[in-house]
């Protein structure tokens, strides 16, 4: 695992590379970080299935990707739906171009104590990435186990630092996902809650800023999405090879990758058309619910969810 210091330098190196090496007027850059739902893009990159002049800018966590998109350093970014709402509330008109995955157990809460003991402990120290996704899972977790915020000391802790802090004993509970989750479970953690208890609420999407796209930008995004679906097909057809390659990239075990994949639904092109065209309103419904929750948590202060924030223009045509 990379330490915080390591990823800072790695991150700086990547930024430098993106500003000089791969930066050209015609290029499209997509911010991405390690998450099982985005592995299709890494795989597409590995097999050279991404279009010319299109680059993945690798970040250590979602927050970095979010800032890059707001600041216009990238034209698109992989993020959760609620993060997209944060981007939009900053005045940037980002749109959903693709649904990578729907979390079905992949986002989880792991605790040092079994679930029945949680209420007995006065001051639980909960580490989570204090963004919208964290707030969303936290909200559903507290509701499910009947805990109050007063029971908790909230610590801002992105997943890439959670393992170390867990071992240092500075947190009791974390909101996390793979590959960190498996490591914590291996350390004796209890899985006290996961996104199966909040179905079709956490969507991972490709956020695109149409205002930043260059002449070939639309086409490049479309080709990128094509690459995503080609990789999805590969993951299905040549599963073992794909699993080993994902494991190699994530520095994880094949079993962990398999477990992580079990926690997400990867919607097909057809499903994506349903979600983004509004034929299936569940994406819009989730966005509305998350928006309300975020307004209550003062994460956003205005209404940013609209039907036209979903855009089918980059989806490959159905046959």
């Amino acid at each position: 695992m990379l330490t915080r210091r390591d990823f800072l330098t790695a991150g700086l190196g990547l930024c430098a590379a993106s500003l000089t090496g791969c930066s050209s007027d015609e290029s499209t850059k997509v911010a991405i970080h390690t998450w099982i739902g985005y592995e299709s893009l890494y795989l597409a990159d590995h097999f050279n299935w991404l279009p010319e002049n299109t680059y993945l800018v690798n970040n250590q966590n979602a927050t970095q990707s979010l800032h890059m998109l707001i600041e216009g350093q990238v034209q698109a970014a992989c993020m959760t739906l609620d993060e997209l709402l944060l981007v939009r509330s900053s005045g940037v008109s980002a749109k959903v171009g693709l649904v990578f995955n729907v979390s079905a157990g992949a986002d989880m809460v792991i605790s040092r104590f079994p679930i029945d003991q949680l209420k007995k402990i006065k001051r639980l120290r909960l580490g989570y990435e204090a963004g919208a996704l964290g707030a969303l899972v936290l909200h559903h977790f507290l509701k499910a186990v009947g805990l109050d915020r007063q029971h908790l000391v909230l610590i801002d802790l992105p997943p890439d630092r959670q393992f170390d802090e867990w071992q240092n004993g500075t947190v009791d509970i974390v909101i996390t996902y793979e590959p960190t989750a498996s490591q914590l479970l291996a350390e004796g953690g209890f899985r006290v809650f996961d996104s199966r208890h909040m179905p079709e609420r956490i969507f991972d999407v490709l956020a695109v800023r149409p205002d930043l796209l260059t002449r070939h930008g639309d086409n490049q995004i479309q080709q990128l999405i094509n690459g995503h679906f080609k990789a999805l097909e590969y993951m299905q057809r040549q599963r073992q090879d794909a699993l080993y390659r994902i494991a190699t990239r994530q520095l994880a075990d094949v079993d962990q990758v398999q477990t992580a994949l079990g926690g997400v639904h990867l919607p097909s092109l057809e499903r994506n058309w349903h979600y983004l065209s509004g034929g299936d309103s569940r994406l819009l419904d989730a966005a509305r619910e998350v928006e309300v929750l975020m307004q209550l948590s003062n994460l956003i202060d205005s209404s940013v969810v609209t039907q036209d924030m979903f855009d089918v223009r980059w989806l490959p045509r159905l046959n």
Partner: protein, 541 residues
């Protein structure tokens, strides 16, 4: 008909009872087999990808395990077969279960009837299990071959049976790097062990083997595999073997369709119950078996490198083409016919229009002729004369040269008409017109304005210069005409007016010429009279 049925009814009934009895017998015999099994022998054919003794030592303990697990009544017998032998055994339906590599499975499936894959083998190495296999490309360590591209032009040892791990996976990788089969030189050897030997001994420069072979040699100390290098190494995390290609599912275990489903279940149960720590698993260097995985990737691979059984060149037949693209072809045909019909219609209409235009044009020409020309003599009529006269007058005004307007009336024409009839009279008029035209210049105009009256417009003439012309006209008309062998005699009386000596309008000039003509008549015919202001005064007077 009904009677016939009634007649045969007893026979039909007795026949169906007999058949039912047969059914009962066959069902009960089946039940018998299952309940009190005689020792049923089943044959498991395993593809010989390695030398016989290695195959035996790997798989005999596995077969022993299965026989123990299955218990009484079922006995499995091991047969190690090369691809030819396995094909033959399958053709004769001698095998009940088959364990082979995925590429071979595709070939067998295309040749004989096979049911689906029952289980997939899981291999094991140093405590790490994998249900995936791939290809390894090996060279001697000191070899100059470093990348896939360097392989071109070198001798490559491959197993005789060109299946997945020992051939197809590597070939696909090379194809992805734009290296085609015909750029490579192969040496076919019997099994995978011989390939490693061939590379080590220098018989071949490159060897294609399946994953796990190098590790197996290392483990058993078969040879100095540390002197070998792997090309295009993949280094996949958690995969226990060295690898040069993409990964595909491990060996499938198949049951043949004739094997009783209950037996298949019992065998599957035994296979899935095998644990990795069992001596049979250890001897076979496997982790056990898992439910069948998807072999579509192997099929895709074989298709894309056109491996057997996908190595035929598809010839497209017209009927297939028709079946596949019927709608398209029909649409195109209909469109084509419609285009043909409409274009021929257009062509026909164009032709008709062209004809009608031609008719119209000739009609128009006729009408024009009738409007401006005299029908009998084809000379300009009064309308055209007026036009010509005015144009000549304008020309005369510009040039300052005078013109003569001559009014000519035949003398004695009425008598010819009365004596010989209108036909002769008309012919005479035609002949007169011809003679007049002959004595005139091209620039002059001759018109017939009615009956025996002609008008001549002679441009660019003076009174004196026109005199010989006028006299020539008089004498030409006075000559006898021979019409229908009849000699006819007429003469001309002419009134001449000179413009602009008499500066007047066209219609008045005509009147003046007319008057002068009458004067010529009065003066005794066959002559001409020139109009002067005085003569007008006279006539006015």
């Amino acid at each position: 008909m009904r009677i016939l049925v009634l007649l045969f009814l007893p026979i039909i009934i007795s026949l169906s009872t007999t058949l039912a009895a047969f059914d009962e017998i066959s069902t009960s015999s089946e039940v018998n087999v299952l309940i009190t099994p005689t020792n049923q022998s089943l044959i498991l054919g395993v593809f010989a990808y390695r030398s016989d003794d290695i195959m035996q030592s790997h798989f005999e303990p596995l077969v022993d395990y299965l026989n123990d697990a299955l218990g009484d009544g079922l006995n499995i017998e091991l047969k190690i077969l090369d691809s030819q032998q396995m094909q033959e055994a399958l053709r004769q339906n001698q095998l009940d279960f088959v364990l082979t590599n995925p590429g071979h499975y595709l070939v067998l499936r295309s040749q004989t009837s096979m049911s689906g894959v029952l289980a997939t083998l899981v291999r094991r190495k140093d405590g790490v299990a994998t249900s995936a296999l791939g290809g390894v490309i090996i060279v001697r360590d000191e070899s100059s071959i470093k990348t896939l591209n360097d392989i071109k032009g070198h001798r490559i040892a491959i197993p005789k049976a060109r299946f997945l791990g020992g051939f197809q996976a590597q070939l696909y990788e090379l194809q992805r790097h734009n290296i085609q089969k015909d750029q490579l030189e192969f040496i076919e050897l019997l099994n995978q062990d011989q390939i490693i030997d061939a590379v080590l001994s220098g018989v071949a420069d490159v060897g294609f083997v399946r994953t796990g072979m190098l590790e197996d040699w290392q483990l058993h100390g078969y040879g100095a595999v540390d002197q070998l290098r792997v090309i295009n190494e993949q280094n996949l995390r958690g995969f226990p073997f060295r690898l040069s290609t993409r990964l595909y599912p491990e060996w499938p275990l198949l049951s043949l369709p004739h094997v009783d489903p209950t037996v298949v279940r019992r065998v599957a149960n035994a296979l899935f119950s095998l644990t990795s720590d069992h001596p049979a698993a250890i001897a076979a260097e496997i982790d056990g078996f898992i439910p069948a995985v998807d072999y579509a990737s192997v099929e895709n691979l074989a298709r894309s490198i056109k491996a057997h059984p996908y190595d035929f060149v598809e010839s497209i037949e017209l009927s297939q083409l028709w079946q596949q693209y019927r709608t398209w072809l029909m649409t195109i045909a209909i469109l084509f016919i419609a285009l043909l019909i409409s274009s021929s219609l257009i062509a026909y209409q164009a032709l008709r229009l062209r004809r009608q235009r031609a008719i119209l044009r000739s009609e128009q020409r006729k009408l024009q002729q009738m409007a401006y020309y005299d029908v009998l003599t084809n000379l300009p009529n009064r309308a055209l004369l007026t036009d010509r006269l005015e144009r000549s007058m304008a020309l005369s005004r510009r040039s300052g040269k005078s013109l003569a307007l001559v009014f000519l009336d035949l003398d004695g024409f009425k008598a010819v008409n009365d004596t010989h009839g209108h036909d002769i009279g008309d012919q005479l008029l035609i002949e007169v017109a011809k003679r007049l035209q002959l004595s005139m210049r091209e620039t002059d105009t001759l018109a017939r304005i009615g009956g025996d009256e002609f008008v001549l417009v002679l441009s660019d003439v003076s009174i004196s210069s026109s005199k010989p012309l006028l006299e020539r006209i008089l004498s030409s008309v006075a000559e006898p005409f021979l019409i229908n062998k009849l000699p006819l005699y007429v003469s001309a009386s002419m009134g001449v007016v000179y413009y602009p000596i008499i500066d007047d309008a066209a219609d008045r000039l005509m009147r003046h010429a007319d008057q002068a003509m009458y004067q010529a008549k009065r003066m005794g015919k066959n002559r001409y009279a020139i109009f002067t202001e005085t003569s007008e005064d006279q006539s006015a007077a």
